[in-house]
């Protein structure tokens, strides 16, 4: 059976060469580690009329990072970066919670709807500001968004008066802990945004335009692409995604702490994008890759308490997993691995990669 063996190996090699092979393998490995530590890890049962279990928690708790990372993917594809997403999330949470607390009927669903709309409107304004600095003024994205990253937390603190603001509004809380058809609402929102974005960028020319701006903004402009509008659009979209994530985080604990809400989420989001195979140099991007990256980060976060890594070592553990995944994804490491395992012609690997 040497032929079957050979074709089997060829399929294996092609699979390994796929952009998402290693992130998926790492995700699988982490799940197996969890399963060994807790044999009931994959158990999902119905609790009070909704699904309940570790896997459900992972998808729900991964929703904010996924949302931020979706926006970040498009920004990065235009050769930009948005460091302000954590601060934008904090502002969104702050605006919504403070509005609910100060509205006369603070438990009413109507108050929650207005609060959420107001928060998202503020996010659009913040995204316009970022887009203005990058697209019109022409400041480097990392510096332009750094402005809001630093100032944004100050704004959020101003909105909340430096206090942890607690709300008692069931409709607002449902954003994070509610369920629809036994599924967690937070995860549905994130996956809904993911699906909608995927359809818009792949079924229309938008994805192509974003990539062309990322590869060469000047050439795209000369070719008739309105790169300024495109850049403006992605920053507004990123801010909207960040704001939604902020609302979910705030709803998760019925409270907003301007100091800690969404702190360092920009780094998690950038990591998810990079793990997913989108290059920080702009151009080609993969939303599916980002989804895998975000789920990997959420699973990693859950793995730490589940397998009982001591608190002192958890950053080290996280860093190790990330370094291994990134190393395995680098073209050099993949070339070395392929040469060792299978003497397939290298040109083939390059085509697929």
């Amino acid at each position: 059976m040497p032929e079957i063996l050979r074709s089997g190996r060829a399929i294996g090699a092609r699979m390994m060469a796929h952009r998402l092979f290693w992130p998926l393998a790492a995700l699988g490995a982490l799940l197996v580690v969890n399963l060994i530590a807790t044999p009931t890890f994959f158990n999902v049962r119905i609790q009070d009329g909704h699904l309940f279990g570790s896997l459900v928690d992972i998808v729900r708790n991964g929703a904010p990072v996924l949302l931020v990372a979706i926006g970040m993917t498009l920004v990065i594809a235009t050769r930009g970066i948005d460091l302000s997403v954590g601060a934008v999330a904090a502002i969104a949470g702050a605006v919504a919670c403070v509005y609910i607390v100060e509205s006369p009927a603070d438990g009413a669903a109507g108050a929650a709807v207005i609060a959420v709309s107001m928060a998202l409107a503020v996010c659009v304004a913040l995204g316009l500001w970022n887009g203005f600095l990058v697209a019109v003024v022409g400041i480097q994205p990392i510096i332009a968004t750094l402005v809001l990253m630093v100032a944004g937390r100050g704004i959020a603190m101003l909105v909340t008066g430096g206090q942890i603001t607690t709300v008692n509004n069931d409709a607002f809380a449902a954003l994070a802990s509610g369920h629809l058809l036994t599924l967690p609402v937070a995860a549905l929102i994130a996956l809904g945004v993911f699906a909608a974005t995927q359809i818009v960028v792949r079924r229309t020319a938008l994805g192509l335009l974003i990539e062309s701006v990322g590869i060469n903004p000047e050439a795209s402009r000369l070719a008739g692409v309105r790169s300024r509008t495109i850049i403006w659009t992605v920053y507004v979209f990123a801010a909207l995604c960040a704001g939604t994530a902020g609302l979910i985080i705030a709803a998760n604990t019925h409270s907003v702490n301007a100091n800690s809400l969404g702190l360092w989420i920009e780094l998690d989001a950038i990591l998810a994008v990079v793990i997913g195979g989108t290059s920080l140099a702009g151009g080609r991007f993969s939303l599916t890759g980002t989804l895998v990256g975000a789920m990997l980060i959420a699973t990693l976060t859950r793995t730490i308490p589940n397998i009982g890594i001591p608190a002192e070592a958890n950053y080290l553990f996280k860093a190790l997993v990330v370094v291994i995944v990134c190393l395995l994804q680098s073209p050099k490491a993949r070339a070395v691995l392929q040469r060792r395992r299978e003497p397939v012609p290298t040109s083939r690997g390059e085509v697929v990669a």
Binding site: F52, D57, G162, S177, N252, H254, R302, P305
Partner: protein, 325 residues
């Protein structure tokens, strides 16, 4: 032009004060002047701390000069320097970080202005740089929490299997309250062999962190009897997670926390938390007392522990109406 004018004015003022009393004492009216450099306004706890200091200064008739460092050491150093220039009688501050204070504290020492640390300590070889440190004893807070569990061991064994499984939600890794509250708690519960910490992980002192870690614990360990959270916020997060798992916080799983902020006390009064050890921000009266003694030249102890208590649900319900923070 402007600068010369200002320096001329300063010279003239300086000459006047020299001719007036000929000394460096600012307190010519007998009133004590205190310069206080606050960390910032990052939490309800901190705001309560600020209010307590301002109110008790007014009550004690002390002239308070207050500055907010917005979590930045350089701001705090700047305001301490300006207090030295203004020749206040006593300087008090809550250091943002532990290190890097030697230079500015030396300046204060040279100017013969006593320094009082509040709430947080500084890391320096030379303890003569400050008079005293007023603040909570975090180890003792951990011990109080552990003592309650030892005293209520039987009631806390919720599943009646003879073993009390405790999960711990730690504060920010490496921070003084997290290290000390863990140590104090462990020291006391080691006296009872049935009590054991089965899992321990950091929740970063936040509600979201506490909730996520607790969700993981609930899935991996079905026999949790007690949650020990290093602050109220993580405990409040744990309550959410426990509710989502279909259990009743305070009944099916006992909860012990530290801090006693308003939201925590509300949950305690409602029976969702079982015991809270207070970590009081109201150290204003003690600070003013120390300031008066120091200025009068009396001896004060090097370490003053804030007066703190503990709360059961009944005590919380009683204290809640006048809880300011």
């Amino acid at each position: 032009m402007k600068k010369t004018l200002i320096s001329l004015c300063a010279l003239a003022l300086g000459g006047m004060s020299l001719s007036a009393c000929g000394g460096s004492e600012a307190a010519d009216d007998g009133k004590i002047t205190m310069g206080f450099a606050q960390v910032g306004a990052e939490s309800g706890w901190r705001t309560a701390n600020t209010t307590s200091i301002q109110d008790s200064a007014k009550e004690a008739g002390i002239d308070l000069k207050f500055s907010d460092a917005q979590q930045k050491q350089e701001n705090q150093i700047k305001s301490i320097r300006s207090y030295i220039q203004q020749k206040v009688d006593v300087i008090a501050f809550s250091p943002v970080v532990e290190t890097g204070w030697d230079a500015v504290l030396q300046e204060a020492k040279r100017a013969k202005i006593p320094v009082v640390l509040t709430d947080r300590a500084v890391d320096t070889e030379d303890t003569s740089l400050y008079v005293t440190f007023i603040g909570s004893d975090f180890v003792e807070e951990g011990e109080k929490a552990g003592q309650w569990l030892v005293d209520n061991a039987e009631a806390s064994d919720v599943d009646k299997d003879g073993a009390i499984n405790v999960v711990e939600l730690q504060g920010t890794t490496g921070s003084a309250p997290a290290i000390d509250r863990k140590k104090g708690f462990e020291d006391v519960i080691s006296s009872d062999s049935t009590i054991k910490i089965t899992s321990s992980q950091t929740g970063d002192f936040t509600r979201d962190g506490g909730k996520q870690v607790m969700e993981a614990f609930l899935q991996s360990d079905p026999k949790i009897d007690v949650v020990y959270a290093h602050n109220d916020d993580m405990g409040l997060g744990a309550i959410e997670a426990i509710k989502a798992a279909g259990k009743k916080p305070g009944t099916d799983i006992k909860i012990i926390t530290v801090d006693a902020v308003k939201d925590g006390m509300t949950a305690l009064a409602a029976g969702e938390i079982n015991f809270i050890v207070e970590c009081s921000p109201l150290l204003g009266p003690q600070l003013m007392d120390v300031a008066e003694k120091v200025v009068a030249g009396e001896e004060v102890p090097e370490r003053i522990v804030t007066e703190e208590t503990t709360f059961t649900p009944e005590q919380a319900a009683e204290a809640l109406p006048d809880r300011k923070y």
